[in-house]
């Protein structure tokens, strides 16, 4: 009898933690993660669940008497599709359309799902975005093509170096260094006009704008630890980009 009572509890905890993990890794805000986990738990009748969510880990307790479980978050990216998927699964759970086991299988599928757009499409998107940002920051149309080239190369380098060394800081540093070098060469060869506009446009896909905004939102929502650590992450990325560009200015 007791085992039967224990079993579903662990399954519910597993579903909650997996949902939280996917959402946090996909760049959802802290309050959204806590909210989703609490909603899933309460759909099984556990209305007293407690969670402590930080960008590097989640501690979750289903009931006041039960034991708390912990999950570690190593990588963080932005993946809106997964946020949407987890959201709809949690909604289906609360309306009782699917069972715990089904939810766990679905969540697991979402977890291992790859990026829906191929790497080449992503690089092309990054380069187009960079070119467009160059125009948006009052650049001339002459700078559009150089911006595209630098942005595409930079994003390419980011993916490659991140695959190579698994240190985000290093990958960002190398990518922005490459952007700096290429845009410097292009402008001195007379292909681009204003160096600043090209560089700003092409580092935009690397810039942690979303991180900064999420950090401030977390801080305002009262998640002080999450807000500060996200802010630190954003600062580190900005520092990497700035350093990479600065090295180019020092060399030339």
């Amino acid at each position: 009898m007791e085992i039967k009572l224990e079993q579903p509890t662990y399954e519910v905890i597993g579903v909650c933690l997996l949902a939280g993990k996917i959402m946090l890794r996909s760049g959802a805000e802290t309050y959204r993660v806590e909210d989703t986990m609490a909603r899933i738990a309460s759909s099984f009748g556990f209305t007293n669940s407690n969670s402590y969510v930080t960008p590097t880990g989640i501690i979750f307790q289903l009931d006041k008497a039960g034991s708390a479980q912990l999950i570690q978050i190593v990588t963080r990216t932005t993946d809106l599709r997964k946020v949407v998927a987890v959201n709809s699964i949690s909604r289906q759970l609360s309306t009782g359309e699917i069972s715990v086991q089904e939810a766990y299988t679905l969540l697991h599928q979402v977890d291992i799902e790859a990026h829906a757009f191929s790497i080449w499409l992503q690089i092309i998107a990054a380069s187009i975005a960079s070119g467009c940002f160059t125009i948006m920051f009052q650049g001339k149309w002459l700078d559009f093509i150089p911006g595209m080239i630098c942005g595409g190369l930079g994003y390419c380098a980011l993916i490659y170096f991140h695959h190579l060394v698994r240190v985000k800081f290093f990958a960002e540093l190398m990518a922005s260094f490459l952007i700096g070098i290429v845009s410097f060469l292009l402008t001195s060869a007379g292909i681009g006009q204003s160096l600043d506009k090209i560089i700003i446009g092409s580092v935009m896909p690397l810039v942690p704008g979303l991180l900064i905004t999420n950090a401030v939102r977390d801080l305002m929502a009262g998640h002080l630890v999450s807000g500060l650590s996200r802010g630190a992450e954003a600062f580190l990325t900005a520092f990497a980009i700035g350093t990479g560009i600065a090295v180019v200015f020092i060399i030339f």
């Binding site: 809106l80 896909p205 810039v207 979303l210 939102r217």
Partner: protein, 143 residues
């Protein structure tokens, strides 16, 4: 102006691809970004302070995102994330970092504080629109 809007639309949609937004939401994401950028540059042309302009544009992003979210039955975060992309002070953050490493600390701190204020106003705008949405929803509860 037209060129700005078109490039902004494309840039936001391209960013939505990088963020792995669902395919059927790409056009709407681009639209949100375009509207926010239009509001921003129009306000700047009427000599509104850039922080206030960002706040207003982000508030608009929040309102549109919530409408789209209700209409297309997708979470708000898809549209709001894409909508704030053009407003994010990436250029300022870059300028700040560049001045820092060139030992020009006065200018660097100036740019950094401005970038922080702008991102604060982006967050504030989003929160304001969320609060507004919740108040409206409480007044007329949906069936």
């Amino acid at each position: 102006m037209i060129a700005q809007l078109v490039t902004c639309f494309i840039a936001t949609a391209a960013f939505a691809i990088l963020f792995n937004a669902p395919k059927r939401s790409l056009i709407q994401c681009g639209l949100v970004g375009m509207i926010s950028w239009m509001a921003y540059i129009l306000l700047l042309e009427y000599d509104v302070d850039s922080i206030l302009a960002t706040l207003a544009a982000t508030f608009l992003v929040g309102v549109i995102s919530q409408t789209f979210a209700k209409y297309y039955k997708m979470p708000v975060i898809i549209f709001s994330v894409s909508g704030i992309i053009p407003l994010v002070p990436g250029g300022l953050a870059y300028n700040a970092m560049r001045r820092f490493v060139q030992n020009d600390y006065n200018e660097a701190v100036h740019f950094a504080v401005q970038a922080f204020m702008l991102s604060g106003s982006i967050a504030l705008g989003l929160i304001l629109s969320e609060v507004l949405n919740q108040t409206i929803r409480k007044k007329n509860p949906l069936p």
